[in-house]
Amino acid sequence: MPARSFALPVLVVAGCLIACVAAATMPDRGAGVADGVVETFRERNGAVFGDWPKPKAVLVFTGELDGYIEPCGCTGKENQKGGLSRRQNFLRAFKAAGWEAVPVDLGGQVKRFGKQTEAKFQSIVDGIRGMKYAAVGFGPGDLRLPAEELVAAVAPIGDEPTPYVSANVGLLGLDANITPRFRVVEAGGLKIGLTTVLGDAEAAQIRNDDIEVVPAAKALAPVAAELAKAGCDHQVLLCFAKPEETKALAAAFPQFDIVATAGGADEPPRELPALPGGARLVELGHKGMFAVAVGFFADASEPVRSQRVPLDARWGEASDMIDLLANYQQKLETLGLDGLGLAPIRHPSGRRFAGSAACEECHQEAFDVWRDSPHATALATLEEARPRRDGDPECLSCHVVGWAPQRFEPFEGGFAGMAKTPHLAHQGCENCHGPAAAHTAVERGDVRATEAERDRLRAELVLSLDTPDGKEKAINNCLECHDLDNSPKFDFDEYWPAVEH
């Protein structure tokens, strides 16, 4: 029969499709990311989950975001790892593959202090809530913030519980019960007990009267007893401490079979080392560039597998997290420099800025080189970014004239917005040579000066590469912005020809 003769191949093809779809639903890319992008980053940073069968459940560890809500830098975002947007898409890839994932975070969302950091912490926690984390701990950077800001960000919202869990950190005191001490979740038929702890050495760095931190081992004892009674298949300790302290706690509480630690190298190891008590140690690296997935399997010969996952461009962008970033940038824009508490600081030289256009009057050749370089459009890159970043001091500090790049603060007389100081837009001459207002005023004849005074002002702005000291000074100046985070491939001798003048 014709119908029969067609049906057989159709069924074979259908079966093939079922299997192919099953194979394609490996969580190895973000939704909608092109094959070429996936292939590029697979080759660059390695494949993920290549030989994994479907696990019963996967614990997804993140931590030590260190304020890197998104990756940033002159080498292009696509060449950097990390950010909440990619993380969200990575977690969604599990759902698309039909794998049950339980995200947990070690803590350490921020490192700095001040209004911008408060706004950033709030946005990050909003993102964490959106990603449905099961447990999040506190890092010492988080606990530098005012308790009222922490509570506002972390506290339960209506019926939605806080994602935060801590055995030994109590915002406004442990008995205020803003956050629970532990949590038990069920996933893939497994019962998983989760708790977090802040190490004693890290706790000693906190100078915040409104936060109670109990010594880690003392606080863990009653929590461990409760978890032991809960009949968990796995018990997980997220320990914000250096590896030595984490290992000591793991030895003291051997019931935890997975223990995550802070304080390792930038890049986590490919495999989870086993601790003497049998627990697996999870290291996460820094700046949220990696996640580590730990899968639980029915296979008795290999019940646990792990995968280090670089959060690179293969995960794409999640629109809800892009919206969150846009809201964060909008918040910074609304607060403005005054609202962010950024009172200008004195430049070490005590001098003021003139703007790059003033240099053109006498230094035409050098100015032309600058004008044709990316430095001359540095602010435009922030204005044109989506969402735009030109209200973000952490970005502005390397894209305008007259800011302290590593302090993210303006100098007196430095850029204060396009409305007030358009002549100080972009990465201009004075960021390397020093503030030139006095020099230009004297050269123009606006101010009277002796010949010696004029020569002194000229000499102060000379940056010579002809001596080792001069070159070192110039290189150090470049490194203020071309640092490891933002320009990891920076090499002065390689980059200099592009702006040589």
């Binding site: 192919c20 005012p146 100078r207 009267d209 490891l484």
Partner: protein, 398 residues
């Protein structure tokens, strides 16, 4: 219909199974053919020809111990071909701050920097690294690709610790809620890692006009304190006493400590904080930017129960015994709990239980033109701030 019955089902299941096997097989084939799909130690499924190369690496991890910032090193990893045919090696991805040298004796002009290792011979791969500031644990990995079907990639890892010249703990001091009337003591520790013990020459604060509020002193660390910091050989503590009277608002200073080791080194420790009043509110619904308790829209039928906290600081903290003087709307009930010390004892936390009982009448105090803010007014017992009025944004619906 001929296409019915147990036989038809059997054929259906068999066809689906066959198709599935083809699909799975295809997926497995893809995984086998793409080196990146396979982990470092993933075995090849199936037989390996006897003339295939075999890469053996006695050591894939090298621990270099500790090095100073700016210092570097290198290590040679050996890859031996114990198979029956020539082994081809090529460079894979390496971490950005770590470099892998060309294979010794690599083919001239080869764009891929490949090396063919005859059977029975060994290739050497040199990995170099440099300790960059600020120091800390260091791990870098380079990947070598091979045509050994059992081991398509080899990860070579170098790790250790980069030791800085000095380190401040904490890196910066943050005093989140500093009471203007209370003052505070705080400290930072400078650890040094050189052969010489540090000799402190000067400790200063950057804004001379603020100096009247700060007293700075240094104290040497004990041998136990130094021993507790990995790699440290010396150090001292900067003790900071902050006097009452700092102006309200953001505090930003930098403490600079100059010490000889024997060259002069200046360590900078930022000191930041918020100088505020003695009474601070916090808790679910407290919006510090609006300075209001935002309860939103509450069902009058089911009501609401929540809790916020009043934290008292400064020299009068133990005098604070709030009592409720007024609430708007009147259905808002506030109960003041007992105070208890929190943190290091420099603050007293007082819970405020806030209840809108079920069955409360409707009211609009949502903090808009139509609904002006409600309030909770407390008598505090503080000699300088005897009354505290807390704006409340709430609408009680049906």
């Amino acid at each position: 219909m001929a296409w019915q019955g147990p036989r038809a089902w059997l054929v259906t299941v068999a066809a689906l199974a066959a198709g599935s096997m083809v699909g799975v097989g295809g997926a497995a084939l893809r995984a086998t053919l793409t080196p990146w799909q396979i982990g470092d130690l993933a075995p090849l499924v199936g037989d390996v020809p006897t003339d295939a190369p075999r890469a053996e690496v006695p050591e894939t991890r090298y621990e270099f111990g500790t090095i100073g910032t700016g210092a570097g090193g290198s290590h040679r990893f050996a890859i031996r071909n114990t198979g029956g045919g020539p082994l081809t090696l090529s460079r894979g991805h390496s971490s950005c701050t770590c470099t892998v040298s060309d294979f010794e004796g690599a083919e001239e002009g080869s764009a891929e920097a490949t090396k063919v290792v005859p059977a029975g011979e060994t290739a050497l791969v040199t990995v170099t690294w440099k300790g960059k500031p600020p120091g800390g644990p260091f791990r870098q990995q380079v990947t070598v690709l091979t045509d050994d079907p059992r081991r398509p990639e080899i990860a070579l890892v170098v790790e250790g610790t980069v030791v800085p010249t000095w380190r401040a703990v904490p890196e910066s001091i943050a005093l989140a809620n500093l009471s203007a009337s209370g003052g505070q003591q705080t400290s930072a520790t400078i650890y040094t890692y050189g052969p010489e013990s540090p000799m402190v020459k000067a400790v200063t604060i950057d804004h001379p006009q603020a100096a009247e509020f700060f007293s700075l002193a240094t104290a040497p660390l004990s041998a136990e304190e130094i021993a507790a910091e990995t790699g440290a050989t010396g150090g001292f503590r900067i003790e900071v006493a902050i006097r009452p009277g700092l102006p309200l608002g953001r505090l930003r200073q930098t403490i600079s400590a100059t010490f000889a080791m024997p060259e002069d080194v200046t360590a900078e420790v930022p000191l930041e904080g918020n100088v505020g009043g003695d009474l601070v509110l916090a808790g679910p619904g407290w919006d510090s930017s609006r300075q209001a308790l935002v309860l939103g829209t509450v069902s009058g039928k089911s009501g609401l129960r929540t809790r916020i906290f009043l934290t008292a600081k400064g020299p009068h903290r133990d005098l604070i015994r709030p009592t409720v003087e007024e609430t708007v709307p009147q259905s808002l009930q506030v109960t003041v709990g007992p105070g208890s010390p929190v943190g290091t004892g420099g603050a007293v936390r007082i819970p405020l239980e806030i209840v809108i009982p079920p069955g409360s009448r409707g009211a609009n105090h949502i903090c808009s033109e139509q609904g002006p803010a409600g309030r909770i007014v407390l008598a505090t017992g503080h000699p300088d701030s005897p009354t505290l009025s807390i704006p409340v944004c709430v609408a009680i619906g049906p």
